[in-house]
C-alpha cells in the first residue's frame, strides 16, 4: 500500500506539472491546448536525438526544454493569432480546433520520421529507502525535478512583479491593460513557460520508463483532466489535483487493473464538473 501511494505521488507530481502547463494557457488565453501532450513528446524526441548524437544527458535535457518552450511560443505567435481575435465561445471552439490540428501535425511528423522514437533516461544507482519503501533513483530524481519546478513557478507568480502581472491578466484583462501590462507579451511568455514545463514532464516521465513517440494524446488527456479537477486557471489547484489523481491512478491500477485507470480519472473530471465546476481551487 505505501509503495503504491509513493508510486502514485511520483506520477502525480508529473501530472501536476502537466495540469499547470494546461491551466496557465487556458487562464491567460482562453485556449484549451489539445497539442500539449505532443509538445511533451516533441521535447522527448529532441532530447533522445541529441543524446544519440553523443551529447551529455544534462545538456540535451536543457536544450529539449528550451526547444519545447520555443515550439509552444511559436504556436502562440502564429497559429493562435486568429484565435485571439475571437471572444467567448468562438474563441474556445477555434482554439480547440486549431490546437487539435497542431496536435495531429506534430504527432504525424514525429511518428513518420521517428516511428520508434522514445526517450528513456536511465539513472544509475541502488534503490533508496523512503519510509521503508525502496524507490528507484530515477523516480526520486523525477519527483525532485517536479517539486523544484513547482516551487520556482509559485515563487515566480507570488513574488515577482511580472508574475503578479500574469495573474492580473487572468483576473481582469482590461484592468491589466489599464495598469500598463501588455497581455499579448504575457501570453507568449506563458506559452513558453507552459512548453518548458512540458519539457520537464518529458524528462521526469522518461526517468521511470521509456516515453514513446505515441504518448501524446494520452498525456493531453491527463493534462486536461488534471486541469479540470484543479480548476481551470488555478496553478495551485492543478498541482494539487495532479498529485491526488496520481495517487488515485496508482491505487486503481494496483487494486483493479491498468485498463480501468483512465476511466476512473475521466470520471473524476466528470464528477468535478457536476459537483464543483470551479474545480478544487478554482474561482
Amino acid at each position: 500500500m505505501r509503495a503504491v501511494i509513493l508510486d502514485g505521488l511520483v506520477l502525480g507530481l508529473a501530472f501536476g506539472l502537466l495540469g499547470v502547463g494546461m491551466t496557465l494557457v487556458y487562464g491567460l488565453a482562453g485556449v484549451i491546448n489539445l497539442a500539449y501532450g505532443q509538445i511533451v513528446v516533441f521535447a522527448a524526441i529532441v532530447i533522445s536525438l541529441l543524446m544519440e548524437d553523443g551529447m551529455s544527458t544534462l545538456l540535451a535535457a536543457v536544450l529539449g526544454v528550451l526547444a519545447a518552450a520555443g515550439l509552444s511560443a511559436l504556436l502562440d505567435l502564429t497559429l493562435m493569432r486568429p484565435v485571439y481575435r475571437e471572444h467567448g465561445e468562438e474563441r474556445t471552439l477555434l482554439g480547440l480546433l486549431l490546437t487539435l490540428g497542431a496536435a495531429f501535425v506534430i504527432a504525424g511528423v514525429l511518428t513518420w520520421r521517428y516511428p520508434d522514437g522514445a526517450l528513456y533516461i536511465f539513472v544509475d544507482g541502488d534503490p533508496i529507502s523512503v519510509i521503508g519503501v525502496p524507490m528507484a533513483v530515477g523516480s526520486l530524481w523525477a519527483s525532485a525535478m517536479a517539486l523544484v519546478a513547482a516551487v520556482v513557478l509559485l515563487l515566480f507568480f507570488g513574488a515577482t512583479t511580472f508574475g503578479r502581472g500574469v495573474r492580473s491578466v487572468i483576473q481582469d484583462e482590461i484592468g491589466a491593460r489599464l495598469v500598463g501590462i501588455n497581455p499579448s507579451f504575457v501570453r507568449t511568455v506563458i506559452f513558453a513557460v507552459s512548453g518548458a514545463l512540458a519539457g520537464v514532464v518529458a524528462i521526469a516521465q522518461s526517468m521511470s520508463g521509456p516515453l514513446t513517440v505515441n504518448a501524446g494524446f494520452e498525456l493531453t488527456t491527463f493534462a486536461l483532466i488534471v486541469a479540470v479537477v484543479g480548476g481551470l486557471g488555478s496553478v495551485a489547484g492543478a498541482f494539487l489535483a495532479g498529485v491526488l489523481l496520481g495517487v488515485v491512478n496508482a491505487l486503481s491500477a494496483h487494486y483493479i487493473g491498468q485498463y480501468i485507470t483512465t476511466i476512473i480519472l475521466l470520471s473524476a473530471a466528470a464528477l468535478t464538473i457536476l459537483i464543483r465546476p470551479r474545480g478544487l481551487l478554482g474561482r
Partner: protein, 226 residues
C-alpha cells in the same frame, strides 16, 4: 476626435483639452458618449478620427498598455480591479512595470485611510466605496500626468459620493491633473475648474465651472433648477 463601435460613431468632432494641474469635468446624461470618449483616449478602442496628445506627444492608436505607461491613468466606471488579489497587490500592480514607490503608497493610504486598514483583504470582497477608492488609488500608483475618472460616484451613496469628491479635491490640490465624467453635476462642478457638456456625442457647451453653473440650460438639464 470621433469614436464608436462596429463602425457606428458614438462621439463625433469632440475636442477636449486639459491643462496641467487642472480639473476638467465632462457633463452629460447616460449615453451621451462620455465613456466612449474616455475609452478612446485610453486606447481601449481605436478612435475613428482625431488624435490623443499628451505633453505634445502623439499617443493616437497606441495600445492601451502603452498609453497607460505614457502617463494617462483611466479609472473606468466598472473599475476592473483584480478581485482575487489583495488590496495591496492591486495597488502594487498600479505601478507596473516598476516596483511600487513607498512614498506614493503612503500618499494613497493618507488620501484613503480606509485602504490602509484593509490592505490584506481581497479586492473582490470590498464594499463599492472601498473598491472605488482602490481603483483611484491603483491609478495614482503610476503617478499619472492625467487621471481620468469615469463616473467615480457610481454605486456610491450620496454621503460616500461627497467624501469621494472631497478626496478628489485633495488630489487636485496635490497637483494631479484630472478629467472627470460625472452625472452628479453639482458635485462635479464644485471641484472642476472647467467643464464640457456632452450631448448625443457632441460638445454642446464649454466654459469655466462658474459659467456652466450659471448657464440656464445647464441649470435646467442638470442642476434641477426650474
Amino acid at each position: 476626435m470621433a469614436a464608436g463601435y462596429l463602425g457606428e460613431s458614438v462621439i463625433d468632432d469632440v475636442d477636449v483639452e486639459v491643462r496641467s494641474g487642472e480639473a476638467v469635468v465632462i457633463v452629460g446624461s447616460n449615453g451621451a458618449g462620455k465613456s466612449t470618449l474616455f475609452r478612446a483616449i485610453a486606447g481601449l478602442i481605436q478612435p475613428m478620427a482625431g488624435r490623443v496628445v499628451l505633453d505634445g506627444k502623439d499617443l493616437t492608436r497606441r495600445p492601451a498598455y502603452r498609453i497607460a505607461r505614457s502617463g494617462i491613468s483611466y479609472v473606468p466606471a466598472e473599475r476592473h480591479l483584480f478581485p482575487a488579489m489583495t488590496l495591496k497587490s492591486n495597488l502594487h500592480l498600479g505601478a507596473y512595470p516598476r516596483r511600487a514607490d513607498p512614498a506614493t503608497l503612503e500618499l494613497v493610504y493618507d488620501l484613503f485611510p480606509r485602504l490602509r486598514e484593509r490592505q490584506r483583504q481581497q479586492a473582490g470582497t470590498l464594499s463599492g466605496g472601498e473598491q472605488q477608492m482602490l481603483a483611484v488609488g491603483r491609478a495614482l500608483m503610476a503617478r499619472p500626468r492625467l487621471l481620468m475618472l469615469d463616473e467615480p460616484t457610481t454605486g456610491l451613496s450620496p454621503k460616500i459620493a461627497q467624501v469621494a469628491f472631497e478626496a478628489l479635491e485633495g488630489l487636485k490640490n496635490e497637483g494631479t491633473t484630472l478629467l472627470i465624467a460625472e452625472q452628479q453635476v453639482p458635485l462635479a462642478l464644485s471641484v472642476a475648474d472647467r467643464g464640457y457638456v456632452l450631448e448625443n456625442g457632441r460638445i454642446r457647451l464649454s466654459g469655466t465651472a462658474k459659467e456652466l453653473e450659471g448657464n440656464p440650460e445647464v441649470q435646467r438639464a442638470y442642476l434641477g433648477v426650474a
